[in-house]
């Protein structure tokens, strides 16, 4: 268990910038997830932390100690790879104990450690098999076993679940979360899957094009996205971004959203409406589940009612995803099953307490609507 700091990390490959002044920190016992699309630099950052990749500029500290010039083997880290990278010619037992063997751990202790890990990961019956004789999920477990057996300071995971089918992925996700809560270890985990990030992380780092977009707990990232990129990346279906413009009148400050019949004037917090802001192009960010049927308002909700014509209904079983047009933008709402049919005119309401306002030009968050 240890803390990790990667400070002002820069990495250039020739003329290409893979990491642009990135700083992350994982406290002891934290589950830090680096989230972003492919090519955003998240895997490069993990490799730099591991010592498998050199950095152009910056500092990596493990437990406050500078490890920039240490080899991977001297950093006391363990890593799980996307392809598992099991040694094909070795049995499961040899795979798990290889690192211990190299570090000169005597055989009885090695065997004991292998048994302990095998029990934890339910691998006892497979210790004498080779990787080619294992299923994807079993290989994944062996890869985890290889990391766990050494009891390192920090665990690094590089998209460990990407090669599994959907069902197994959910199972292994739970396993990893369980292991983390039992062992209380520090984990840095790379993924492009926002659901993995949300479910596993104690802290998420959203990355895009070599830069960090936002760092926060899953709930912060979900409720208070720093910009439209994060808003669109997190959540499935993602946050709706309704285009509009800021307007001021005696009644207060409004977001004017063009609509098929007459424009909607959505009231927003008055401190968003400085005179200079009048006419400013904005996006109103609304999560699908904060839109509901107009007659179903709860107590903590501040509803804004409007009428729309439903274009498409996509039933998911638990909810119906209703898709309609607002301000020239397709908007998705998560409604109760049977709330409406395609083509129907329906009264909906949006909970303004959960809505967020973004600047249309920069994409940055201006503030909460209320």
């Amino acid at each position: 268990m240890a803390s990790l700091v990667a400070q002002n990390i820069n990495k250039a490959f020739g003329g290409y910038t893979a990491l642009d002044n990135v700083t992350i920190e994982a406290k002891s016992g934290e589950f830090l997830v680096l989230l972003g699309p492919s090519g955003c630099g998240k895997s490069t950052l993990l490799s730099i932390i591991a010592g498998l990749e050199t950095l152009t500029d910056g500092e990596v500290l493990i437990d406050g100690e500078l490890v920039n010039h240490l080899d991977p083997k001297d950093r006391d880290i363990a890593m799980v790879f996307q392809s598992y990278a099991l040694y094909p010619s070795m049995t499961v037992r040899e795979n798990i104990s290889f690192g211990l063997k190299i570090r000169g751990v005597p055989k009885p202790q090695r065997e004991e450690a292998v048994q302990r890990v095998a029990k934890m990961l339910k691998l006892e019956s497979m210790l004498d098999r080779r990787p080619s004789q294992l299923s994807g999920g079993q290989r994944q477990r062996v890869a985890m076993g290889r990391a766990l057996v050494r009891d390192p300071k920090i665990f690094l995971f590089d998209e460990p679940l990407s090669n599994l089918d959907a069902k197994l992925r959910v199972e292994m996700r739970t396993e990893i979360k369980k292991l983390h809560s039992i062992l209380g270890v520090t984990i840095v985990y790379v993924t492009h899957d926002q659901i993995e990030a949300m479910t596993l992380a104690t802290k998420v780092v959203v990355m895009k094009e070599a830069r960090i977009q936002q760092i926060g707990t899953p709930q912060e990232i979900y409720d208070q996205p720093q910009n439209t990129y994060v808003a669109r990346f997190i959540g499935s279906p993602p946050m709706n971004l309704v285009p509009g413009s800021l307007e001021r009148s005696e009644g207060g400050t409004f977001v004017r959203v063009a609509s098929a019949s007459e424009a909607l004037h959505i009231p927003v917090s008055s401190d968003l409406g400085r005179p200079a802001d009048a006419g400013r192009e904005v996006f109103l960010g609304v999560r699908p589940e904060t839109i509901f049927e107009a007659n179903r308002t709860g107590p903590e909700v501040e509803p804004f009612r409007f009428d729309v014509k439903l274009d498409v209904i996509e039933p998911t079983g638990s909810d119906d995803l209703a898709i309609f047009d607002l301000g020239g933008q397709e908007v998705t709402a998560r409604l109760r099953p049977g709330s409406g049919t395609a083509g129907e005119q329906i009264a909906l309401a949006v909970d303004l307490n959960k809505a967020v306002l973004f600047d249309a030009r920069s994409g940055n968050r201006i503030g909460n609507v209320r």
Partner: protein, 297 residues
């Protein structure tokens, strides 16, 4: 192949299809005969006596098969003025081929490993130079090599010849292993580095155990090339140190009176036997290994 079989048996046979099949198989059979004819003549001639050979018909079966010519070739065939048989040269060649094949394969494997898994600045250039080495003809290196061997005091020795073959073979073995290792995931090496293994540890414990197909390719390639080599053998050795191919040439060219064709044939078959055995034992791995490297690389 299984496709054509099922297609012809599933649908009714017709005349055109049968005629086509006969034409193809007939042509193939002719080529088989054509390619096997020399081997047939060699074997039958080696089993005949000289009077029978003089009688003329080279494709007839031996009337009274005897291994006398084989014994003579092994023990008494004359090379120049001495008549030691080919056995000494046989031993020479093994003594020279085994270290040359082993060392060149091992170095090729290390090179291929370094070129694919431990990328260093200029690795492309280095591999380019290795490739260039594959295209240097034997003749071009004879003089410089002779001088180098002279300076190392290895002129005319079997060790010198083994060294020449090792050096000449390294570009080929490097290329084989490089093309094989390039399809092995980089993450395997990363995992081993995190586990604490260094360059040679990773090479021995992880890469070599999964290299069997390409080791077989490299060994067959190097063994047949070095065993069958004549030019280097003739250039860098003499007398009793000569390898088998040079000795065979000398036996055939040593003419006092009647040419003992049966002995020549027996000696030639014995000279070719090791490479034949290697192909029969490991030939299918050879094709498989070559394809694996080229398709994935």
């Amino acid at each position: 192949m299984s496709n054509s079989v099922s297609a012809s048996s599933g649908v009714g046979l017709n005349f055109g299809r049968i005629a086509g099949r006969v034409l193809v198989l007939g042509t193939l059979a002719l080529f088989v005969l054509y390619f096997l004819a020399p081997l047939f003549v060699m074997i039958t001639t080696s089993l005949k006596s000289m009077p029978e050979i003089r009688a003329g018909n080279i494709i007839s079966l031996p009337r009274d098969p005897s291994f006398e010519a084989w014994r003579v070739a092994w023990q008494e065939a004359c090379v120049g003025v001495e008549c030691p048989g080919i056995r000494g040269f046989y031993k020479n060649t093994f003594l020279m081929v085994i270290p040359a094949v082993t060392v060149s394969t091992l170095l090729g494997a290390i090179n291929g490993f370094a070129l694919t898994k431990y990328r260093f600045t200029g690795h492309r250039l280095v591999f380019g130079l290795f490739m260039f080495g594959c295209f240097i003809p034997h003749q071009a290196i004879i003089l410089p090599m002779a001088r180098a061997l002279g300076m190392m005091d290895l002129s005319g020795s079997l060790w010198g010849l083994a060294l020449v073959h090792t050096v000449y073979g390294i570009p080929f073995t490097t290329m084989f292993f490089r093309n094989y290792y390039i399809s092995i995931p980089q993450e395997l090496v990363k995992a081993a580095r995190v586990d604490g293994a260094g360059f040679f540890r990773i090479f021995w414990s992880i890469m070599l155990p999964i290299s069997a197909p390409i080791i077989i390719v490299s060994v067959i390639w190097q063994f047949t090339n070095i065993w069958n080599d004549f030019l280097f053998g003739a250039s860098f050795t003499y007398g009793a140190n000569a390898p088998i191919m040079v000795a065979l040439n000398n036996i055939v060219n040593t003419s006092t009176g009647e040419r003992p064709y049966n002995v020549h044939m027996a000696a030639a078959i014995m000279a070719a036997l090791p490479t034949l055995v290697i192909y029969v034992l490991a030939g299918r791995y050879f094709v498989r290994g070559l394809v694996a490297g080229s398709v994935k690389g």
